[in-house]
């Protein structure tokens, strides 16, 4: 017994010693329970460290992303100049299956319940709240004031741009410049400001940013004072446009004129080579005011843009976005005549002859090129694409069976055997060699038979998920401001000066000067603008602010609906290398199987999501018409 007692006693003493010493030496209870997380930065640290604060700013740069990436041109694909198609079957584009939100817009089904499929709302405000929070917390920072000034300018520009974007989508929106307090639920419910409130805010913020960014370095991708000047000028132009200026108040146009002049005098000028504008490898710093670049890990799309843009026939690409016939008709003849002018020499069956030089670098049409396609294994091949419907081929030797009949695909609609092909035509030094033939049902697929060239990088493969992405998202460039100035001068009645600005752009493209005036000049200007700025997310907003929705978005898309081969008139003889090639005749018209369009004037402004109208306690009034 005694032994056990002493053993227990010993153990007890041992424990007491350990326990007491722990209490004494330790830790004062406060620090033991006060844990600071090690995987994150505290507010104090971030706003007093130059690098961390700049990182905060760089994260906000990311909110300048457009809804659909550069080569899909933002909203261009629902306008009259481009057709956006969501590829479903692997090869053949299907315009019926637009992305939901786009389909809802053109069919007139946009409502407060589904508008968030079409345009962002909450995402804009999350980015804005981040910037509002930044401004509140950067006060009293110990970072070098010169650096803080530039960061403030960058954040101010981004916030102003976000509000600019909101204003051109929704009109008036809640204008929020301070952070909200979660503990005050009533304070969260606010109303909607007017368009003018928001627009004036953008302009005044841009003015502040111009001054703050005075010393910001001119570096690819970074926001500069020129960007702020450009934003101010663009906002003033939108404010003066018919949609926002119903009484045509000329003072708004004059304000836009002054601001645009400031941009034109900022030292930027038109780049020499307009075909290389979209690529960072040929970055023309004199032209670009602000662009967003990508690289091997920060991609535009998971695969190379080439695959999205190349024609789908012949197994090349997926035709994600295509120029329309409406766009093709905007290009004048090389001598400056419109294709509809008498004596222009325009021949619809040879529509590519003698056109504006930009036609050949903007549109890949049937038989155009040849272009040097690079395949997935790195091998290259010069090709022209032809897609046509055909009768029998008298040459026989060039096809598998004679007279040629498509063995595999009887036309489901007519029950007859179809003769449609896509042909890739290999262009060698001495002539032509037929390459692949792909069969498809003519008439099944609604496409325009044109393809985009602006963003195609011929140095890249068809499909590559690891290459350095060279295409850029062009946010602001000087060409736009030449065009803006022309528009302003026309509105102010100074047509001579307007023509002067347009002609500088045309001179770059080796096109003769414009001589039109009045209504014709306006139309020429708008065509010039669409040609120069296509796929840079301008067309949709231009259509809205000029109030021409019914004539453009509301009209069916047109393209080449039939390309018929006539073998009786051979343009290339049977005994020549490559064999026989006949004469093609094109039929233009509304493309087949397209989604019906229903324009309604209420679509000039989007509705605000129903959920936020509810949550605002009814304080936000819905956009008229919804």
């Amino acid at each position: 017994m005694k032994k056990i007692y002493s053993k227990c006693f010993l153990i007890f003493v041992l424990f007491s010693i350990v326990f007491i010493s722990l209490i004494n030496t330790s830790c004062d209870k406060a620090t033991l329970l006060d844990i600071t997380p090690t995987d994150r930065f505290s507010e104090n640290v971030v706003f007093n460290d130059e690098n961390l604060a700049q990182s905060l700013v760089y994260n906000s740069y990311e909110s300048l992303r457009r809804l659909t990436n550069p080569a899909f041109g933002g909203y261009d694909g629902i306008t009259d100049i481009m057709l956006w198609s969501r590829n479903t079957a692997g090869y053949y584009p299907d315009p019926i299956n637009f992305q939901d939100g786009f389909r809802d817009y053109i069919h007139g089904d946009i409502s407060p319940d589904n508008v968030e499929n079409f345009a962002g709302w909450g995402s804009y405000y999350t980015s804005i709240a981040t910037i509002n929070s930044y401004f509140e917390k950067i006060k009293g920072s110990t970072i070098d004031p010169a650096k803080v000034k530039i960061m403030n300018g960058e954040m101010r520009f981004i916030r102003a741009f976000l509000y600019f974007d909101l204003s051109r989508l929704y009109g008036g929106v809640p204008l929020i410049t301070t952070t909200f307090d979660l503990t005050d639920p009533e304070g969260l419910q606010i109303g909607r400001n007017t368009y003018d409130d928001v627009a004036n805010f953008v302009v005044s913020e841009s003015d502040l940013a111009i001054e703050e960014l005075a010393l910001a370095p001119e570096v690819m991708g970074k926001i500069t004072a020129n960007a702020a000047k450009a934003l101010k000028a663009r906002m003033l132009l939108y404010m003066a446009s018919p949609l926002n200026n119903p009484g045509n108040d000329l003072s708004k146009w004059t304000a836009a004129e002054t601001a645009t002049m400031a941009v034109l005098n900022s030292g930027k000028m038109l780049a020499a080579d307009y075909t290389k504008i979209a690529f960072k490898t040929s970055y023309q710093a004199e032209e670009i005011i602000l662009a967003r670049t990508y690289n091997a890990t920060k991609r535009i799309y998971m695969s190379d843009l080439n695959f999205m843009l190349w024609p789908s026939f012949g197994g090349l690409g997926s035709n994600h976005i295509m120029p329309t016939q409406q766009f093709a008709e905007m290009f004048q003849m090389a001598d400056g005549k419109r294709i509809t002018d008498a004596g222009s020499g325009y021949n619809p069956q040879k529509f590519w002859e003698n056109r504006d030089p930009r036609f050949y670098t903007s549109i890949m049409y049937p038989g155009s090129g040849p272009f040097n396609f690079k395949y997935d294994d790195g091998s290259t091949q010069f090709r022209r694409q032809q897609n046509f419907e055909s009768g029998t081929d008298p040459s026989g030797t060039n096809w598998n069976t004679e007279p040629f009949v498509n063995p595999n695909y009887p036309d489901r609609n007519t029950g007859t055997t179809s003769f449609g092909f896509s042909m890739a035509w290999n262009f060698g030094a001495d002539g032509f060699t037929y390459a692949d033939k792909v069969f498809w049902w003519p008439g099944k697929f609604g496409i325009t038979r044109y393809n985009v060239l602006k963003y195609v990088d011929w140095n890249n493969k068809r499909w590559d998920t690891t290459n350095d992405v060279t295409q850029m998202q062009l946010l602001f460039r000087i060409t736009e401001f030449y065009l803006n100035m022309a528009e302003i001068k026309i509105a102010l009645g100074k047509e001579d000066e307007a023509r002067n600005y347009l002609n500088q752009i045309r001179a770059r493209a080796n096109m003769p000067d414009l001589e039109s005036s009045g209504v014709q000049l306006v139309e020429d200007y708008r065509n010039e603008r669409a040609i120069e700025l296509h796929l840079e997310d301008h067309r949709f907003f231009d259509i809205l602010r000029w109030k021409i929705g019914a004539e453009t978005i509301g009209q069916p898309t047109r393209g080449i609906v039939q390309s018929l081969m006539d073998w009786s008139v051979l343009t290339h003889q049977l005994d020549e290398p490559g064999g026989a090639f006949g004469t093609l005749s094109f039929t233009f018209g509304p493309i087949l199987n397209q989604y019906p369009r229903n324009w309604d004037d209420k679509l000039y402004h989007l509705p605000i999501p129903a959920s936020d109208i509810e949550r605002s306690g009814g304080k936000i009034t819905q956009t008229p018409g919804y």
Binding site: P37, D39, R40, F41, S42, E43, V46, L52, Q54, S55, L56, Y58, N59, Y61, E62, D104, H107, G108, D109, S111, P112, D113, N114, W121, G122, Y125, T126, S127, I128, A129, T130, N132, S133, V173, P174, I176, F180, L182, P185, L188, Q189, V219, M220, G221, K222, K280, R292, T293, Y294, N295, T297, K298, N598, A610, S611, D612, E614, R615, S616, G617
Partner: protein
Amino acid sequence: MPEGIFSYLKLRASWGQLGNDRVSPYQFLSSYGITNGALINNANTQGIAELGTANPDITWEVSTSSDIGFEMNFLDNKLFLEFDYFKMLTENILTKRNFSVPAYTGLILPDQNIGTMKNQGFELQLGFQNRVNKFSYQISGNVATNKNEITFFDEVPNSDPKVAAYQRLTGHPFGSPLLLHAVGIYKTDEEASSDAAIYSQARAGFLKYEDMNGDGIINSNDMYRKELNPELKYGLQFSASYAGFDLAMFFIGSHGEYWQFDNNFTLTQGNNLQYAADNSFSVDNRNAELPKSGQNSVGLASDFNLQTKSWFRLKTVNLGYTFSNNRFLSKAYISKLRLYASSENFLMLYNNMNKYGAVDPELNSALGAYPLMSTNNFGVQLTF
């Protein structure tokens, strides 16, 4: 109380409180974490962003539960009965104010202590065990169900009180979805465009909905809060042993849980696509059970795709034979050797989702999951 009716009787009750704080940590601090940065001068940069708005008042959720029950054994402990009834009240539930905070505030919401929920249910167990000579057996069954109700929830009522009445979540079980009420399928385009309550996408093959608020348009104001009925869970256990053999079987079943199919009535289980293909509306099949494939709705969820599950499964079977006190084995110092075969998820006995091609309704979600695997084991157990 007459003598001898109860061989065992126990009444019991309990009360307790439990705290929970298992949400993201450090929500009381305003802090920043590393994220995406822009490409400046063609070089990657680091980005930092606020992790969320801070909530300095964050605290525990408290769950108070009380339980009352009894256990009774009859017939010399051969028949037993157990019953429990419980009530639980959870307060200060940690959740985000997603429903009342507008998106234009741009706030990344922290968890806040809002919300109270009530939960009550019962569980009943009944069993019988007996031994006849060398054969002993036991059979028991149990059934349980519970019902919960949200007594406070952060939501902003619809501005129209009539709509607010049928959309409110407070007073309904947790997880009650907001759905449109589908009443049929449009058979022709004319029928779709001439209907009194319309939506602009409607054509032949699209769903026809009930216009809850009578305003002639089908939109989110016609969605009602569907009260999900409580699930009834039941089980059956059978075990027997005779002269070295032992057998145990365990069955479970459930009735009343829900699966939400997607808009095209598809699951990612079994040959459900066949069912969808055979029964979808088409020009040749205008009386089909399902709407047309592809776009077939106004774009909002409806109760057309909400299906009640009912299933019963033989979950575990275990059969074994034990050699014990065997002369040969004891020479090897083995006191007991048992050979057994057992199986998990042995057999699905009844499954009302089978007609849609789904083989395993025990899963929580209809979409994107593999059915539970059936595992069969054979083994030897040795005791030294």
